[in-house]
Structures are given as structure tokens and as C-alpha cells.
């Protein structure tokens, strides 16, 4: 008799998911993944199709229009799936979530799993229209690695990846699910919509999706203000779990 899994991917009854391309955004450096994921959900009008259930999550739901909402939700349309977390993840939960996600991706014959995150850069302040942040990619799939430059992504040559992205890459390799981690130079402890815009543009090229990032850049200051609370919680989480960010280049 097996025990109940600690993390479950719950998809609404009747929703068919087949050969998905899964994009994951978690509160981390610059909130890049959350901003990129949330913007794509809005622009592509993705519908909420599920959520993550876990005994390891805080026992809190937010009620909106009489409906309880999980802090980690799943959106989709066709074979594009987006998972966005609105709470920082502690290391124990990250591992369980990554393992469960890869198992789910394998069961659905996923084409690709993409984690999007920020790569803290001391040089970030110097970026502007003329010098955009560099976008790096790490993949467990050789063919994908070789094709990264054609999408405007530099292969991540030397460094260390830890945390959920490391587990996604490792478990993906074990389960034969192609994985890619996209890392864009960003601020560590401030929301960075401009860096997120760079990652969204790359995702558009990778996934052959038309998506305009103009409004993300234009609304950047407003987004930075709205996400201060989430960034503050993420800062505290980063401080508790590690001295440094989860990626070193």
C-alpha cells in the first residue's frame, strides 16, 4: 500500500493535456519567472485549468468571487501549459514539486519543460534599450542545447544551478523529458519586468508563439510597485534558504 504523494498536479475534469509544452514561473531573482508567466497568461488569455495540491503548502487559500484559489495555479490553452507560483518555495517543497512535475510531464508525453528565472547581475543597472540583458539557457537535451543560439539564447557554459531548476533538469534527464532553464540577467531583490520581457521574447521564438512585450515594458514601473509584497516575501525566502541566488554564472 503506497502513501499519498506529497505533491499532486490537479487538472480540472474534462481537460485534455497531450504533448504539452510547460512553462514554469516561481518567485526567485527579480520575480522574472512569475512576471513572465503571468504576462503570458494575460496576453494569450490562457484559462485556469488546474492547480498544485500539497500537504507541504501553507494551509491558506485566497477567496475571490466566492471561489478558493490555490497559490500555485496552472493555466493552459491547446498544448501550452503555464504553472505560476505566487509563493516562494522552500527547498523541501521545491524538490517534491519538481519531481512531481517531471513525472506528470512524462505521463503526458511533454515536448518540453521550460523553467524561467533571473540571473542576478551586478551590471544590471547599465542595461537599457541599447544593451539588453543577456539570456542564457541550460538544457538536458543535446539537440536543444545546440539550437539555443538560433533563438537568441546563449548556452550556459560554466556555472552551477541549484534549487528547483536543478531538480527539474536532473529529473527530466532521468525521465527522458526535454528540459530547458532560461536565465536572464536581472536584479536579485527587485522586481524586474524588463528582464522578464527579454525572457518572454525568447519564449515566443522557442515556442513559435506571437507575443508582444511592449505593454510589459511600458507598464514596468506599475508592475514593480504591485509586486513589492511578493518581492519582499521572496527576499526573505532567499535570505533564509541560501546566502546567494540559486544560479552562478
Amino acid at each position: 500500500m503506497g502513501s499519498e504523494p506529497k505533491v499532486q498536479i490537479v487538472v480540472e475534469e474534462g481537460t485534455k493535456v497531450s504533448n504539452p509544452r510547460i512553462v514554469i514561473g516561481i518567485p526567485e531573482a527579480g520575480l522574472v519567472g512569475v512576471i513572465a508567466g503571468s504576462y503570458m497568461i494575460q496576453q494569450l488569455k490562457l484559462q485556469e485549468i488546474g492547480h498544485v495540491e500539497s500537504e507541504l503548502l501553507p494551509e491558506v487559500v485566497v477567496v475571490h468571487n466566492s471561489e478558493p484559489k490555490s497559490p500555485i495555479r496552472i493555466f493552459g490553452s491547446g498544448n501550452l501549459i503555464l504553472l505560476v507560483s505566487e509563493i516562494p518555495l522552500d527547498p523541501g517543497f521545491s524538490y517534491e514539486l519538481a519531481e512531481t512535475l517531471e513525472g506528470w510531464a512524462m505521463s503526458k508525453n511533454a515536448e518540453l519543460v521550460v523553467g524561467v528565472t533571473g540571473l542576478p547581475s551586478k551590471n544590471r543597472m547599465n542595461f537599457d534599450q541599447n544593451q539588453k540583458p543577456i539570456l542564457f539557457g541550460v538544457s538536458n537535451d543535446k539537440k536543444l542545447r545546440e539550437s539555443l543560439p538560433s533563438f537568441g539564447v546563449e548556452p550556459f557554459q560554466e556555472g552551477v544551478v541549484t534549487g528547483i531548476h536543478a531538480t527539474l533538469l536532473k529529473k527530466g534527464a532521468l525521465m527522458n523529458v526535454p528540459n530547458l532553464t532560461l536565465l536572464v540577467e536581472s536584479y536579485l531583490e527587485f522586481p524586474d519586468p524588463a528582464a522578464a520581457a527579454t525572457s518572454v521574447e525568447a519564449l515566443g521564438r522557442l515556442l513559435s508563439i506571437q507575443i508582444d512585450t511592449k505593454s510589459l515594458v511600458e507598464e514596468s514601473e506599475g508592475i514593480r510597485l504591485k509586486l513589492r509584497g511578493l518581492m519582499k516575501n521572496t527576499q526573505e525566502s532567499i535570505a533564509k534558504t541560501a546566502e546567494a541566488p540559486s544560479v552562478y554564472a
Partner: protein
């Protein structure tokens, strides 16, 4: 994206304030001063062997509207915003409050020379650095 009903970031703001404002460690006093009606900017403090570097996130601010006052042990920033903003405050009983300025005073982790401070501002990010004041004096053994 300005339509509140379709503003995904406004929705995140509402949910985060609802959950974290009431339940978790995020204290709304870390982000707002409702008495003075000012926002407290996000900040980052780094200490290197020779410097203390403080970075502030100041969206909607122009350089000319920033005021910095430093002592050996503290740094205060005040900045008027280019336009007032409405943000959610209040946990599960949220209300939208208008803010038009930032104000924050931080304690520095070590003593600095405030007269030698330097500041740069770009894209809403303010970086202020000070040389660390050396402690003690060399004593020569005769």
C-alpha cells in the same frame, strides 16, 4: 493592462496582500508608512571590505526629486513620485490607498564616512555607496 478586471499583476498584488498581510511574516509596516502616507522602498544592503552599498528601488521617481541624508550610521531617502499611485493595503480587509512619495530611514550595518558618499540613479534604481570608517588605530610595538 490598466483595466483592473484584466490586470493580472493587480490580481497578484491583491492576493499577496490578502494572504501575506494577514498570515505570514511580511509586515505591511515594512512597505508602507500609513501615518505619513509614504511608501518604504525595497532596499538591498551590501557590505564589502571597503564599502557599504545601499540600493533602493524607486519606480516613478526622477533624480531631481530624490533627497538623501546620511550619518555615520544611518541613511535616509525621501523621493516624490512623478504621479500618485493606488496600492492595496490591509490584508483580508483591503482598501486602496494613494501614495505619492517614498520615505525610508535605514540603519547601516557598520560605520561609514557620510561625507564621502556617492550616488547613481538610473531606471528607477538608486545606488548609494560609502567608504567604511576604519576602526581603531595601529599601535607600534616599540
Amino acid at each position: 493592462m490598466s483595466d483592473e478586471e484584466t490586470d493580472v499583476f493587480g490580481e497578484i498584488e491583491r492576493r499577496i496582500e490578502s494572504v501575506f498581510g494577514e498570515v505570514f511574516s511580511h509586515d505591511k509596516e515594512d512597505l508602507f508608512d500609513l501615518v505619513s502616507g509614504s511608501l518604504k522602498p525595497l532596499d538591498r544592503i551590501e557590505v564589502t571590505p571597503g564599502e557599504v552599498i545601499v540600493t533602493f528601488d524607486l519606480p516613478y521617481v526622477e533624480k531631481k526629486d530624490i533627497s538623501l541624508v546620511a550619518t555615520e550610521e544611518t541613511l535616509s531617502v525621501d523621493a516624490k513620485m512623478t504621479k500618485p499611485v493606488m496600492l492595496r493595503v490591509g490584508g483580508s480587509m483591503q482598501k486602496r490607498v494613494e501614495f505619492a512619495k517614498y520615505s525610508k530611514k535605514i540603519s547601516l550595518p557598520t560605520k561609514v564616512d557620510p561625507r564621502a558618499g556617492k550616488a547613481r540613479f538610473r531606471g528607477g534604481i538608486l545606488i548609494v555607496s560609502f567608504p567604511v570608517v576604519g576602526e581603531g588605530s595601529t599601535v607600534v610595538v616599540g
